[in-house]
């Protein structure tokens, strides 16, 4: 499939079409650093001074290139489609080749960074438990009540990194046994023929 880019985007990248190969490579490197660590205004000012263009243009160029890379990686477009999309933007032959190199080298990295951005549900991190026996309470003495106390540690990744939360739960042994049998039934569901058929087709 061909990438369809908005007019603004094409305008931002038009500045790069007239630049030469080393500049485009440098901008490509900046775009990938942007993805990994965020922007650094000083670098933009330095580049703008060297190329004698306004800082805004440098920034738009880097952002445009970064968006091009993320969109291409997101849709996993083939090399031919990538070259055609970039050709439509007005890049020269050798610039197309260097952009293609950039895309092919960093496709998987970009995809793994993108996949980390989208985890909204808290995920299992660790489970701590203890087994107690309640012998007496304020109202009733001489009891024998076994209890399992569980601390479920969860992590949730968000824009600012990952946050940890914990949930304290208490259960009696029969509920615990029921929980275990339900979870084992869930695990066994992966091995049914329906699930196996779906997994085969996804592979």
């Amino acid at each position: 499939m061909l990438l369809v880019l908005s007019e603004d985007h094409k305008e931002h990248l038009s500045f790069l079409t007239k630049a030469d190969g080393s500049v485009v490579e440098e901008f490509g490197r900046l775009a990938l650093e942007f993805l990994r660590k965020g922007t650094n205004p000083k670098i933009y000012e330095g580049a703008a001074r060297k190329l004698c263009v306004p800082v805004g243009m440098v920034q738009h160029g880097v952002e445009g290139l970064m968006f091009l890379m993320t969109e291409s990686s997101k849709h996993m477009i083939s090399e031919v489609d990538f070259m055609d999309s970039v050709l439509a933007l007005g890049f020269g032959e050798e610039l197309i080749q260097s952009l293609l190199q950039l895309y092919v080298q960093h496709k998987h990295q970009i995809r793994s960074i993108l996949s980390q951005l989208l985890c909204n549900q808290p995920a299992y991190h660790n489970l701590e438990w203890r087994l107690d026996v309640q012998l007496a309470s304020r109202s009733v003495r001489h009891q024998m009540v076994p209890m399992v106390t569980i601390r479920l540690l969860l992590t949730r990744s968000s824009d600012v990194g990952s946050t940890q939360s914990c949930m304290d739960l208490q259960t009696d042994p029969s509920s615990l046994l029921h929980m275990i049998s339900t979870l084992e039934a869930a695990l066994a569901a992966v091995k049914t023929s329906d699930a196996r058929r779906i997994l085969r087709n996804i592979k």
């Binding site: 203890r130 106390t149 914990c166």
Partner: protein, 199 residues
């Protein structure tokens, strides 16, 4: 095959794989490595430079060093968790393929620090909201906006508990009238008598 130090379950595959890595270093160096890992398990911190020097002869890469430390931590903490004595541990490790001198060295280090390790594991067991400290103050209320002559004593209790995040603490302040305080004290004394009966 069921192993006691794994809690009467099968030994994990990665432990089996890393036991052969352990056999590559000499038994003397392995005993020193065990000492370092035990220091880490007891909360005293591990000296990675020393570990690096000990494994340098066998030319371990960083992945191998991490694997060795992980497998030693697992064996020692798991054996302490399931209260395995050192002869059984030695014979089970030899069944898994660890050479005899290495197994004896490991078990000697384990036996020395066995009780300390179990105490440390007991301390780090799950506890909900541990009580850190209690402070109290007795006041005598003379008068208030509701009543001109009050003349009643009042107890203020401040309880510091550990919060859910490690390192955070919560403070609860309670003020109690004398009668309620007497009830609280009697109930707590009964609970204490029951706890002492169990000791």
């Amino acid at each position: 095959m069921r192993f006691r130090f794994c809690g009467d379950l099968d030994c994990p595959d990665w432990v089996l794989a890393e036991i052969s890595t352990l056999a590559k270093i000499s038994s003397v160096k392995m005993k020193l490595l065990c000492a370092q890992v035990l220091k880490d398990l007891l909360g005293e911190g591990i000296d990675y430079d020393k570990v690096g020097k000990l494994t340098a002869d066998a030319k371990f890469e960083s992945g191998d060093i991490k694997a060795t430390v992980a497998v030693l931590s697992f064996i020692l903490s798991s054996a302490a968790k399931h209260d395995v004595d050192s002869e059984s541990l030695s014979s089970e490790l030899q069944q898994l393929g660890l050479p005899k001198e290495h197994a004896t060295g490991l078990c000697k280090s384990y036996e020395d620090k066995h009780c300390a390790l179990q105490d440390k594991l007991r301390d780090t067991s799950l506890r909900l909201r541990r009580l850190d400290s209690v402070s109290w103050r007795v006041d005598y209320t003379l008068s208030s906006s509701e009543l001109r002559e009050v003349n009643e004593p009042l107890v203020h209790l401040k309880l510091q508990t550990q919060g859910t995040e490690p390192g955070s603490s919560d403070t609860t302040v309670v003020s109690i009238s004398p009668d309620k305080f007497r009830v609280l004290l009697t109930e707590l004394k009964q609970a204490q008598a029951m706890m002492n009966a169990l000791q």
